[in-house]
Every structure is written in structure tokens, then in C-alpha cells.
Amino acid sequence: MLGNFDFDVIRRSLPYLFYEGMTFTLTLTALSALGGLIFGTAIALMRLSGYKTLGRIAGLYVDFMRSLPLVLVIFWFYFLVPYIGQWLTGASRPISVGAFASSLITFIMFEAAYFSEIMRAGIQSISRGQPAAANALGLTYAQTMRYVVLPQAFRNMLPVLLTQTIVLFQDTSLVYVLSIPDFLGAASKVAQRDGRLVEMYLFAAFVYFTISCVASFGVRRLQSRIAIIR
């Protein structure tokens, strides 16, 4: 069976797969991770703020997002984001949001729920003495968080955050359902056009596997280095 293998189809489509597909995937991953981290940290701080209502709203958001399949959330946001934009800006008609922006918003909102749980655990892992000491020095709540608590929480949680980012990298492949040409979408377009499923899907699997493997190997190295420093 492998005799019919057409490696040439991979070679011919490499520019498209990587310049368009992989660029889309990696940009989406990086920006979503960044946005998800910022938004997730905000949610974590809300949950730990001590304001009951604020904490409850944040908690509900996290539970809500974590109850839904990503595929459903992707559909939701793809169709809903323009209306939200209209509502936010008070425009007379839905705001046109492109495929990339829409996916980006989706992943930021979705991943924030997961990043917030990580950051919450990170903040809670810091001994109570730290904020107490910061307060004793006269730092405000915001300063305590900004200069004392969050940097430590972030450093402690860095390996977990990076692992979650690898999961996110894999999850971005789900924009396939919207026919958006991310890496997998691009591969499947070539696969279907040329009838070369076996080659293209095996190649896509290989690429995702290699990148994730190298990345998680790096995270493990980082983890053991952090373990030594502690």
C-alpha cells in the first residue's frame, strides 16, 4: 500500500501548508495564550478578591466554559461575536469580524477559563506570609499583586502554563470545522483536492507530533531546572 505513497504532494504543498496554515496556527496559539493568560489572571484575581459577587461571577464563567465542548464554543462565537461587537460599540449593524479575529476571541475566552484555574492554584500556592509582608511594607493591594504575588505565582506555574499552551496549540486544529485554513485545515484542503488523504493526514500528524513533543520535552527540562533552583 505504501507503494502508492505520493510524497511529492507534500513537497508541492509545503509553502501553502507552512506559510499560510502553520503561520495561522502558531499566531493563533501565541496570541490566544497571551490573551488567555491576561484574561485568566484577571478572572483568578476576581475569584480570590474577597468580593462575593465578583468571585461568584468569575466562578460561574469558569464552570460554564469548562462544561462546554470547544467545538460548540467555536460555533457559538463564530456566529455570535459580530453581534457582541454591535452591542459593545452600539453600532447599527453587526460588526464584521474576520475568521482570524473571531477564532482568536474564541480561544482567548475559552482558554482563559483554564488559565485562570492554573493561576488561581499558583496564587494560592504562595504562603500567606508573602502578601502579609508586602502589606506590612506599605504596598497597596495592587502593588502586592503586581510586584510580589503574581511574579511568584507565574514562575511557579510556568511549566503548567506552558503545558496548557501545548494543549491549546493542538486545540486550534478544531477551527477546521469552520473551514478556516489553519495547518490542519490547509492539509485537509490539499488532501481533499488531490485525493491524497493518507499522505496529508499522516504528514499533519507527524508535524503536530514533532512540535508538541519537542515543546513538552522543553517544558520538562525547564521543570527540572526550576526544581533544582528551589
Binding site: 500500500m1 460555533f75 455570535l80 493542538q170 508538541s212
Partner: protein, 243 residues
Amino acid sequence: MNYNWNWGIFFQPNPMGTGTYLDLLLSGLALTLETAVLAWIIALVTGSIVGVMRTLPSKGAYWFGFAYVEFFRNMPLLVQLFLWFFVLPEILPRAAGLWLKQLPNAPFWTASIGVGLFMSARVAVQLQAGIGSLPRGQKQAATALGLTTVQGYRYVLLPMAFRIILPPLTSEFLNTIKNTAVAITIGLLELTGQARSMQEFSFQVFEAFTAATILYLLVNAVVVTGMRILERYVAIPGYITGK
């Protein structure tokens, strides 16, 4: 908002002739649960075997477990489903491939096995961590009493390890349910898929997705409650696990 709301749509007949649109969604929910349960059984069984292998002193078993977990953890689920659904039948001998492709309910079986194996790697990691968290003396005590390795795992290590990892296993089970939605890409008409069909046939996008969302939330609540009860049921008096 320029949109015609119509919440009565759920009680109108669906074009499949299987009752109302609500029935359509409920049939999707049933398929979601069936797929998830079968996938979960596969994940638990293979995940446990692999997880145990990773704790055995044998180098070979350890490396097999390691490779297994890395293989299934480093590829998107969607890609794995494509491998099982589109690629596997093509690289098998023609007759076997054809048989596989013409199986009735091929998407269901592919999704169950695909999601099951994907989740098994996560179960394996959890179980390995659970076993690792037990005091080393437990294994030695079992060995000193003359229990074989199999008996030691069966009667001593696994009952404790599974109790310890019950909370993370709960979220992995919830992930399994959610992950079945990825199988709409291979034509499985589970809850998200049926919500999408409803949207396509009735054009009532937001009603369809709202209903699916509510159903997922309900399933989540039921599973979480069920697992809490299970946790309480298997809790050991006087022994505090984790939290």
C-alpha cells in the same frame, strides 16, 4: 438584533421524521452519552494498564508506557480521529479496509475508540501519579506478605490509587464527554452535531446552540453530583485523601 427568535421551534416536527426538534437534540444527547461511556471504558482499561506499566520496575514496560503516552498526548484529537477514520482503512489490506469502512455506525465506533485511546493516555498519567503518591512501604508491605506483583496491584495499590485520583478522573470523564463533540468531523451526529443540523434545517442558530449548551450543563451537573456521591461512597473512614 436582526434575528427572528422562535423558541417554539423545539416543538415543531423535524425533517427527519423522528418527532420534534427537541427529540432530535435528545437523540444527539443519547449518542453523546453512549459514545462517551464506551470511550471512557476504553480509556479506563487501557489507561490503567499503561499507567501501571509506567510504575513497574521493568525498563521495557516503562518505555512502552512512556512512548504510548507521548504518542497519544502529542497529537490533536481531531488529527487522531482522521488517522483512525480516513488513514487506517487505506493502509490496511483492501478487504479489511473495506470491511472497516462499511461497518454500520463506523463514526460511532471510530469516535469511541479514538476518543477512548486519546483519553487513555491522560488516565495513564493520572494513575501513574496516583500510584507514585502512595508511600513506598505499601508496595513493600504487600510484597513482604507474599503477594505477587499482580496481587499487590490488584488488592493494595490500585484500590488506593484510584481513590486518590477520583477527583481528577471526574474531570477527565467530563473531558471525554466534551471530546466526543470533535467527532462531528467524521459524521457523528451527537449533541453538537444535532444542534448544528437543527440550525441548518430550521435556521434558528441561537435557539439550537442554547439548547445544546443547557443540555451540556445539565450533563455536567449530573456527572459532578454523581461522582461526589461515588467519592463519598468509597471514602475510607478516618482517611483524608488529597484535599
